[in-house]
Symmetry: C2
Subunit: 258 residues, 2 copies
């Protein structure tokens, strides 16, 4: 697995939100190993759409695992953000030089960024001061061809290693399934889900709802992540966890006293 | 409850993350009723620190509830964001003119914004196009005096009704317990938790971890939400769900081809 980019003094923490049995984390670990030593700390089960949840009211357990004698690490009964926090504070003797999260099975572009456990793991790493990259493949299927997402990951890692990442900035990468056609910087598309719930009646005659819906783009621009992906390119979007709406903020005069 | 600000044609959706039995949602509903008709759609149990989770893999159930013949609404076995989405798409015959989330028992200032279910309900409402305000009291106790947080809520509602809120902007309000000393616009303080986990051994001799830690401010500035709160004032912070780091983005030239 070693190539000229391998540095044995580089420690890379690998996480995801689909859990340790996901093909995506295996694909990501393969790429990470080309660049350095790796430690896998990831949820013990599927944690999609958990957003930036952390586990406050339950204790966290950590279980070492080995899968097919190819991949080993530590499984946590918590969220992606829990994994990063616990890795940082308790599980890693040596702090990581880089944190990777993914490869998610399903897009984390547009408004999906908000709901994404994959992105939240990378964001949590950024909060704690580590360079971090989230990677997703736009195809949901567990059998999706991740070769392009792996190439996109390599490019994002090279970018981060060469240029460094400013404090507070996380890289969010998305790639279509199949070989990489190219990769472009992109903005998060303003978007939302419409027609979201499907109502059903259970065998006991009680109603319930499944979340569903299709993504609607509210913005225009060739450089929106969702639009770039539609053209077949992978995207890389710098995101931040400072949510302050600074322009709006600067224009407030007061108007709160009553 | 009616005063000169009451408008019977105004529909206000009330949600929270502490669940329908929390004193905070009762306090918020009281304030909301001064301004219009209200509909409560909230989690059926405590959902703190769920961030912007949505429920993808389980069906959602909706149960009408009435508490002490004073408060009625619909309880959802999901997250705060689920409640808003379901209210918007299926449960509310008439769409809300304003969405309120809270009053959370515990601060949602600084980095807490990221983990907050209270804020995520308001953000989800903003995504769907409704003016929305999240409100939190910095004291965790369920018996905290919410009178100041209620006053801060009134001021934030008046602001939103008079000025409107631009698309994509959510108001995030925090207030100390007790009477309101004053209320100021503030920025999200760059901050993080340090010393986060407490390791313990269970009665079966197995280790487990509780999340804990203290908040560290990484920024300087009198107008940071955490600093304003320390001085005893309530804060109001405009936040956005566009996470793109625009300044960083504008300065990228390419450098991704390899």
């Amino acid at each position: 697995m070693r190539n000229s980019e391998y540095d044995e003094n580089r420690m890379i923490l690998v996480c995801n939100d689909d859990g340790i049995f996901s093909p995506g984390i295996r694909a990501l670990a393969e790429v990470a190993k080309e660049f350095g030593q790796i430690t896998i700390i990831a949820p013990d089960r599927q944690q999609s759409a958990v957003g930036h949840s952390i586990t406050v009211s339950d204790p966290l357990r950590v279980t070492p695992f080995q899968i097919n004698s190819k991949m080993e690490g530590q499984a946590v009964n918590g969220t992606p953000a829990d994994c990063i926090k616990l890795g940082h504070d308790k599980l890693m003797k040596r702090k990581p030089d880089l944190v990777l999260s993914g490869i998610n099975h399903g897009s984390n572009a547009g408004i999906n960024i908000i709901y994404s456990g994959t992105v939240s793991a990378a964001t949590e790493a950024t909060i704690l001061g580590y360079p971090a990259i989230a990677v997703s493949c736009t195809e949901f299927s567990e059998s999706a061809d991740l070769i392009g997402a792996q190439d996109a990951t390599r490019r994002a890692i090279r970018y981060a290693l060469r240029n460094g990442l400013p404090a507070g900035i996380t890289l969010n990468v998305n790639a279509p399934a199949g070989p990489l056609k190219g990769m472009k910087w992109a903005r998060q598309a303003n978007s939302r889900y419409v027609e979201e719930f499907e109502g059903r009646i259970d065998p006991h005659n009680k109603p319930y709802f499944w979340i569903t819906g299709r993504l609607e783009i509210l913005d225009e621009g060739e450089d929106l992540d969702l639009n770039v992906l539609k053209k077949g390119y992978a995207t890389i979007t710098p995101i931040q966890y400072d949510l302050t709406a600074h322009e709006f903020y600067r224009n407030q005069a007061g108007d709160l006293e009553d």
